[in-house]
Symmetry: C2
DNA sequence: TTTTATTTTGACATTTTTGTCTAACAAAAT
DNA sequence: ATTTTGTTAGACAAAAATGTCAAAATAAAA
């Protein structure tokens, strides 16, 4: 539809993504998004018709981007361990940039989550799970349902970042100290998962 | 204030807790809560004055309950491993009953989260962390910043349950199969954390 | 039984947020 | 230069949600 391409559409998307997924303001109103982007609220409707459609759009974008990068890792021609290290790197970077992305999906799953979930590819996941099973046979990782292995991986990566606002006061650590902890996570996780 | 004690106040709290923390309807309106409880919406204001105060109330209740049970585990006179097993049991049960409790805290941390966080005790946590450090010296668990150990524990416990709505379609497993996976988590986690 | 205090309810008011419509504006095409 | 098309802005309408008030209902007390 837009032909002049003033960059406003992308600006609105980027701003919304920043507000919702980076700053965690999951209830941001259209007004707040418009203000943050420095555009009139009507523009938002002009480009996306409704708040829900805007949100669907940014979520789809985000998910597609991440999925693609993760799939590349999972399907790459490397050892299982290197693959996993790459997944950790990709995922960790994404989580640090947009910590609230998945939280958003979960909290909003009642509203329009069902639709969004449909789009998730599970092909590469299946293949990665298969490889995990092979590694378990070989004995390089602990034997268990491979789904546990993957859930362990995602859990160890995501949860501390999501919970940062709670953990900083709970553990009485400064922003800087916590950042250091997060930086250490990658190694910690590899050690934990590949210790056998 | 209430003297006749008709049970309505508690009924409203229980219903709200169920809706928000168990069913994950984090944006439940006062009307929805009132309907679910089978009372007039005004009663909700009569007892709690405002929506925010109601929500603060149920959250404080929930947190206090869980904290107390966890503190009991952490301070009990048992070995570190048994302590940890108890924590897992307590936490897992709570997470299964009210999976969205922590998600709620995180998403709502901007609104009134800061106040709620103030109340969190970190005394028992400190003492548990100290014990973890001792175990690392002894060599029963991997050496790392004890905070990592605790974050690992909470992550492995919480995240799969929070993500259930996403994981079920992603891994193509039925409700029943997923339930089985969750039941296995306790053992998996102990094995992972105490493998040395 | 009347009185009193407490609880519950329905109607109304306010606030917040979303969505629409039309006019002004800008840039390219004719 | 003017027409056409696409974009932005302001005013308005509608919807959704919260909050208030006074009257009705209920249960205990006098």
């Amino acid at each position: 539809m837009p032909l002049k391409n003033t960059g406003t559409e992308q600006l609105i998307k980027d701003t919304a993504k920043q507000l919702l997924f980076a700053e965690g303001k999951l209830h941001a109103t259209t007004q707040e998004i418009a203000d943050a982007a420095g555009v009139n609220r009507t523009s938002l409707h002009y480009y996306f018709r409704s708040r829900d459609l805007l949100i669907s759009a940014i979520f789809q974008d985000a998910m597609q981007g991440l999925s693609q990068r993760l799939d590349e890792c999972m399907l790459s021609e490397t050892s299982f361990k290197v693959k996993t290290e790459n997944i950790i790197a990709v995922f960790l970077r994404d989580m640090i940039l947009f910590p609230y992305q998945e939280t958003f999906l979960i909290t909003e799953i009642n509203t329009f989550g069902k639709k969004l979930i449909g789009n998730i590819q599970s092909g590469p996941v299946k293949s990665y799970l298969k490889e995990a099973a092979d590694e378990m046979e070989k004995g390089t990782i602990e034997k268990m349902n491979p789904i546990h292995f993957l859930m362990n991986l995602f859990s160890l990566l995501s949860y501390p970042i999501i919970m940062a606002p709670l953990y900083k006061p709970l553990f009485r650590v400064s922003e800087k100290e916590f950042q250091k902890l997060i930086d250490e996570r990658g190694k910690i996780i590899i050690n934990l998962l590949f210790r056998k």
